[in-house]
Symmetry: C2
Subunit: 424 residues, 2 copies
């Protein structure tokens, strides 16, 4: 049964520009886009019942490609601490609390509700080492109808004892989640999640790679975020030719679909390896600014055709609103442009394409309104932003720069309208 929606439709096919259909129609069948057209006849839906969103904008939903759900409580806290005391006093103590399923459920509801508010319909998520708490997060996503790849975190060195888990327990916990959520077409699926090389012994990295291979599951981790981290990895993994190669040697770098957060300092052999293996970058611009560890060279990544998406990275990032991430990503690219005018800063269509279609490719056909794409969409009522005075593209730009959750009035994931999830 086809559903047809009418609105001002904006999306990207290519990064070079927007597709804009003023007062357009979009047909959705079995959760996927059947077509977009400026009239019902061209859509082949002349008799369809139309849900009319009037003068609203209809755009692809947001994808958050790197986020630590258990850091929701630390959002916007102690942002003027240095990295090390911040990890020791805030990050690790907070994650330890997720041993309590009750605490986890309360915070994860808060997290999910905020994602819903801001129209983030797909996420790639770090949980904690705690299997049951991670399971609860996955159930919450399922109940909400929102898409997510969720990782029970693997870590067994260089962290507080209560966040260390031995290899067998880590594997057993992950396999438990795979049994329950491993279906290939599920909206909510496990993702193999070694925290990062310094947190994982070679045995644990090896076990993670074997799990990814055995169940053909995707992989996420952190890569080349700051200089001292890279030096540390070189010490820990002297046989690896680069930080990325350390993951690669354990089957965690594109052997299955892989996304790596940050990649601020990725270049040379590591960059070539990422390209060859099709590893996606989760660029986290607010986190780049807040942690002052470096600014990811997004223009270079685009020029090199690296797949790329955007991540909020709370609580290194402070904001779960992915539209703010688009603004910050443009600003990061402008910092590179400032130093080197050959590195043109990102255009609005480029960053929108990155955040929607490019990022969405990690979930399948997600992030665009081309035929066959899953219908993940937001309806934006920008009445407060004086829409009558602006072109559709400027209306979208103003919503991205100035808007907030109040303007998002409908949210769809895989064709279903997503109701407000229960908050904590």
């Amino acid at each position: 049964m086809k559903k047809v929606y009418k609105a001002n439709i904006l999306y990207t096919k290519e990064r070079t520009g927007f597709e804009v259909v003023e007062n357009g129609y979009i047909a959705v069948e079995n959760g996927r886009v059947a077509g977009v057209a400026s009239n019902l006849k061209a859509l082949g839906c002349e008799d369809a019942e139309v849900t009319d969103f009037g003068n609203c904008l209809l755009i692809p939903a947001m994808n958050d490609m790197h986020v630590h759900a258990p850091q929701v409580h630390n959002q916007g806290v102690a942002m003027d601490l240095e990295l090390l005391p911040w990890l020791q006093n805030y990050t690790f103590p907070e994650e330890s609390k997720y041993a309590s399923v009750e605490y986890a459920e309360r915070m994860y509801r808060r997290f999910l509700h905020t994602q819903w508010l801001f129209g983030t319909m797909r996420s790639v998520v770090f949980g904690t080492i705690h299997t049951e708490s991670t399971r609860r997060l996955m159930k919450l996503y399922q109940e909400a109808g929102m898409g997510a790849l969720v990782g029970k975190v693997a870590m067994n060195r260089n962290c507080p004892p209560e966040l260390c888990e031995d290899v067998e327990a880590s594997v057993a916990g992950t396999e438990q989640l795979i049994q329950e959520f491993g279906g290939a077409d599920g909206l909510v699926r496990p993702i193999i999640t070694p925290r990062f090389v310094p947190s994982c012994t070679p045995e644990l990295l090896k076990a993670c790679g074997e799990l990814a291979n055995k169940y053909h599951l995707p992989v996420q981790s952190h890569l080349s975020e700051n200089i001292s981290e890279i030096a540390w990895v070189a010490e820990l993994e002297p046989e690896s030719r680069s930080y990325g190669d350390a993951y690669n040697r354990y089957g965690l770098f594109g052997q299955t679909p892989t996304i790596m957060a940050h990649c601020v300092w990725t270049k040379g052999e590591e960059l070539e390896l990422m390209k060859r293996n099709g590893v996606m970058v989760a660029h986290c611009p607010t986190s780049n600014f807040n942690l002052s560890s470096g600014l990811a060279p997004v223009r270079t990544m685009l020029d090199e055709s690296l797949p790329i998406g955007l991540g909020s990275d709370i609580s290194g990032g402070h904001d779960l609103n992915m539209f703010r991430m688009l603004v910050y990503a443009i600003q990061v690219s402008k910092m590179h442009y400032m130093h080197d005018h050959s590195k043109k800063f990102l255009s609005l269509s480029e960053i929108f394409w990155i955040a929607t279609k490019s990022a969405g490719s990690f979930f399948g056909k997600v992030g665009s309104f081309e035929p066959g794409y899953e219908f993940d969409a937001l309806v934006i009522d920008d009445d407060v932003l004086h829409p009558s005075e602006y072109s559709l593209l400027h209306r979208l730009e103003r919503f991205i720069y100035l808007g907030d959750d109040r303007q998002i009035i409908h949210r769809f994931c895989r064709g279903q309208e997503i109701a407000e999830p229960e908050n904590d």
Copy 2:
């Protein structure tokens, strides 16, 4: 007649830390703070009627030290254009529209309403060359009860003909506004506003300096925002030892209270001159990021004891929410820290002090709750941010990083509660 308010009170005396009075009381008399204490007895107000704001935060209001009111329509538009086409296609055509008082009034209502929403109670504002439109803006501020120094812009070269005004007309228009709004203690007063050296002939700069001196009025302009601008000024004013010296030679650089926007590249003699003359910097961090013209060295300015405040600089900046400006200013300082760890990034108390007490000094005793300070204040109901789980300082930090206008439930300027002004 004293008024007493009860709330969790936070403000700064020094940049090194906050004054925090949990469930404290503040007494206000004749628009000024009489005292802050943890109980009524210590305040000497045992019989006073208390307005109780419960668990809310009470903080000094925001001051926007550099903003182009007539750019409100361009907020968040065409942010991916280069500077020159952006000025030619958006900035100047928009300002030309302010020849219409009707258009100006409509847009200025929108502008003022947005400032009110975000709790900005004092501003240093660029209008346009149009006397009557600028007068309307000043009247709107007066009607609202919000404080502002408003400049009719002086410009007569290197701009479209419809934005050029000859020296006599410029002086006459400014004097007209001085007659009406020149009272020394007024909340809304004129400020002498040469746009910047490239827009003003020596004759116009001279006339501006004479006006400032004759009426002892403050001065605002732009200084050392980007490299090519500085080179241009050096060409136009070959006798000046620096860009700042060009203003100085015309009596526009601290001879009366002076604030200069940006100062990204200020150093050496220009920096010494600013220090000697007590010229304040209006640091505009979002604008620094959006225009990629450079990042103001705020730590250096603090170390050198330059007076400093924050500006939104719309529409080079995209946001009128000054709390976002605090976040961006910290991030700008982190970009300096990234390259040079001896330049410690700004702490929360430092940036809060800059935005409130330091900026506020341009208006008199504004921006703190010390006795004698004008009571400019905001009441923040952060219930949605889970206040029970955080310290008062973290509550403030979370509101700054994550909050928006919905949490600002009362606004005071000079002791008066400011009602919502009529929107356009």
